[in-house]
């Protein structure tokens, strides 16, 4: 399809703006993770530091802001999230698989109904799933009185696993359904004819065929569980997961430690996405090569063998990488040349803040002391004299250097 150059330019601009809208906030957040100031900001830039990834900081007024390594609540939250995610994977993958296989075996009337029921949880608001699970299990716990059942029914981790499994099973189910659509049933029949039992058919034929779907649904289930908030916040009760820890931190006040955490998560995501893409590309090119050689073998004529010229082509992504490198170098250069990096800078900034804080305290105390005494009202006519004093201060021109005749020599 041809399109006019003006339209193309408009579309290009639009795509750029769209991507900037998607990535801009994330990039800015990542930058704030390296600013040593206790409020996540880009301007006023204090110092470049890794402190939010490590120990954090105790502010001049005694407030403790924990960095990633020092935050025990965060570590507990991550551990709980991991437990929950593993539990959800262990439940929802088998459930999704069973439901998808049975879907292929029932007649078409039941199939439509069954499919509708199975995808319902995705259409429920997450909040509702969390509440309904808690409400039901609280009832079960109180009906059985005390004892083990009551403990289970009021265990936040257990409830969260159940609540998340409710809708994550549907995502797994959909992945398995897509894979099952391409399953060749004659394989099963052949195995049965050759004397295999049904259990053998399941483990030797169906399971190996579904292996890719098992792997990808496990990954998807894990990710959905790990990042879920809406359902978890209700079903977790008194425990804490990663997401509820983050939410309570954000509610108390925003700290660059959260930016640092976000940056770690973004880095993991990016690595996963890029490696997935590279693997896919490699598999595709291998497939293409196999096809080429097959074609060549089928028709032994040199005409069909493409001359693979090894002309060096610069991929477009090179420019992006170069741009990023340039940005990093320029930023680093700026930081070093303005002395905005390293221990000295951090110590100096903290000292400045401390002395600023001390000054303010002193001023406050003075005000309190002089409150009783009659403060002389400042005469408006003395204002100009004050200016004279400022200009009369010789220290002000010390660093100016413009009129310094020595500098010319």
């Amino acid at each position: 399809m041809k399109s006019q150059p003006a339209l193309k330019l408009l579309l290009g601009t639009y795509i750029f703006v769209f991507l900037a809208y998607l990535f801009g906030p994330l990039i800015i957040m990542s930058i704030t993770a390296f600013n040593s100031a206790e409020f996540p900001a880009v301007t006023p830039w204090e110092c470049f530091s890794w402190r939010w990834f490590a120990e954090g900081k105790v502010t001049y007024d005694g407030q403790r802001l924990a960095g990633l390594l020092a935050d025990s609540k965060l570590h507990e939250g991550i551990l709980t999230s991991l437990h929950i995610a593993l539990g959800v994977v262990a439940l929802s993958v088998p459930i999704g698989m069973a439901a998808a296989i049975v879907l292929t075996q029932v007649n078409s009337k039941i199939r439509t109904f069954f499919y509708s029921v199975a995808i319902m949880p995705v259409l429920f608001p997450g909040v509702v799933i969390g509440i309904s699970t808690v409400v039901l299990w609280d009832r079960i716990a109180s009906m059985t009185g005390g004892g083990a059942m009551a403990d289970v029914g009021r265990n936040g981790v257990f409830l969260t696993i159940l609540a998340q499994t409710c809708f994550i099973s549907t995502y797994c189910f959909l992945i398995f359904v897509a894979r099952m659509q391409r399953f060749d049933k004659t394989q099963e029949e052949a195995a049965l004819d050759l004397g295999a039992s049904q259990t053998q058919v399941f483990f030797k034929i169906l399971m190996p065929y579904l292996m890719p779907a098992i792997a990808s649904s496990a990954v998807i289930a894990f990710l959905y569980s790990f990042e879920n908030y809406n359902t978890t916040v209700f079903s977790i009760l008194s425990d804490q997961t990663l997401t509820t820890v983050i939410a309570s931190k954000v509610r108390l006040g925003i700290s660059p430690a959260i930016s640092a955490l976000a940056l770690v998560i973004i880095a993991i995501t990016l690595t996963a996405a890029i490696s997935y893409e590279v693997l896919k590309r490699r598999a595709e090119s291998r497939l293409a090569k196999i096809k080429q050689t097959q074609l060549h073998q089928a028709m032994p004529s040199d005409r069909l063998m493409k001359n693979q010229k090894t002309s060096f082509k610069l991929p477009k992504s090179m420019f992006v990488i170069l741009l990023v490198c340039f940005g990093v170098v320029a930023g680093g250069n700026y930081l070093v040349s303005n002395n905005l990096y390293g221990e000295q800078c951090i110590v100096a900034a903290d000292e400045a803040k401390k002395s600023n804080f001390a000054d303010q305290l002193k001023l406050l105390q003075q005000n309190v002391e002089t409150e009783g005494a009659t403060t002389p009202p400042s005469d408006p006519t003395t204002g100009s004299q004050g200016f004279n004093n400022i200009f009369g201060d010789p220290n002000l021109f010390k660093n100016f250097g413009g009129f310094d005749t020595d500098a010319k020599k």
């Binding site: 399809m1 399109s3 579309l11 639009y14 795509i15 809208y21 998607l22 906030p25 994330l26 800015i28 957040m29 409020f39 996540p40 900001a41 880009v42 301007t43 088998p94 459930i95 069973a98 296989i101 049975v102 075996q105 499919y115 029921v117 259409l123 429920f124 608001p125 997450g126 909040v127 509702v128 509440i131 309904s132 409400v135 039901l136 009832r139 109180s142 159940l162 409710c166 099973s169 959909l174 039992s197 049904q198 259990t199 399941f202 990710l223 990042e227 908030y229 809406n230 916040v233 209700f234 997401t243 939410a247 954000v250 925003i254 930016s259 976000a262 998560i265 995501t269 996405a273 893409e277």
Partner: protein, 303 residues
């Protein structure tokens, strides 16, 4: 049933039946039914449950409509306002997401070269996988009183005082659009990709204008994707909790926050359940509406 056992063998059949039964009955149906039941019961301390006072009542739904008995207003303006603001905002955000995503989805599906298209898709997937809370936090850094935007504008000399983005809900609405935009993109892209490019060329050869081609050919073809994306965005926006927690101002409530408050802070579980039932009801109505409007089946909405 016997055929089922004969086909799968006893072990596998048992596994199938137990896992599917557990899921459908214990995780999907019973919790929702019990929540519905609880929403019609008064809020009682545990000891009184099942006693004489534990009768069916409409008190929570009445409270939603008319407010507490002691208040003078004819209707419960506070809760009703939150409810309808949430719904109206969710609809607006759904429409906006559709408008924002349509050109890009069309570009990736039909115009871009294979390589560019895949690069774009990967770069769209990456922000999608970053936690909703953290994305809201990123916007919080931008929109805070001493945030990046305010600082930049003041430093550039464009204004003197900081704009209260959070107090005026700019941050909340931007955040909600930001959070669920991509859920419109992927269904839309999938449905546009299956459109035969020959149809577009034929329309052009026959003298159709670009707009007309889109209106008569592309959009009708993409209706399943539009229905699916709209449903997803609407449901998730109306049921969002993470983004409002981070970005809403102290005086604005999202309906889910109201539920949270009844449930966790006021300890009135049955009223929280009643409000959740309302949210669920709205979601179901919206899905039915979409199915009717676009003439698609449930199976086409969730893929």
């Amino acid at each position: 049933m016997q055929k089922f056992f004969a086909k799968n063998g006893p072990i596998i059949s048992t596994y199938f039946l137990i896992s599917i039964g557990f899921w459908i009955i214990f995780l999907i149906i019973i919790p929702q039914l019990y929540m519905l039941d609880l929403s019609f019961r008064p809020n009682l301390p545990p000891l009184l449950r099942g006693g004489e006072e534990d009768v069916y009542t409409l008190t929570h739904y009445k409270h939603f409509l008319f407010g507490s008995e002691t208040s003078k207003d004819a209707y419960n303006y506070v809760d009703l306002k939150v409810f309808f603001t949430t719904l109206a905002t969710a609809v607006v955000i759904t429409v906006l997401s559709l408008c924002f995503c349509y050109p890009i989805a069309f570009y990736i599906a039909k115009i871009a070269e294979h390589k560019t298209a895949r690069l774009l898709i990967v770069s769209l997937i990456v922000p999608f996988w970053i936690n909703e809370l953290l994305r809201a936090f990123a916007l919080r850094i931008l929109f805070a009183g001493e945030g990046v935007i305010n600082n930049a504008l003041i430093n550039a000399g464009l204004m003197d005082n900081a704009i209260n983005f959070i107090g005026q809900d700019v941050a909340l609405f931007t955040g909600l659009t930001y959070a669920y935009l991509l859920l419109m993109m992927f269904p839309l892209y999938n449905s546009l990709e299956s459109l035969d490019t020959n149809q577009l060329e034929a329309a052009k050869d026959l003298g159709s204008s670009t707009l007309r081609t889109h209106w008569r050919i592309v959009i009708p073809h993409a209706k399943a994707g539009i229905a699916s994306g709209s449903t997803m965005v609407f449901m998730l926006t109306a049921g969002a909790l993470a983004t409002p927690v981070v970005l809403s101002s102290p005086n604005t409530f999202w309906f889910t926050q109201l539920i949270y408050q009844w449930f966790n802070m006021n300890d009135n579980w049955s009223r929280g359940a009643a409000y959740s039932v309302l949210l669920l009801l709205v979601s179901v109505i919206f899905v039915l509406l979409m199915m009717k409007l676009f003439r698609v089946k449930v199976g086409e909405i969730v893929k």
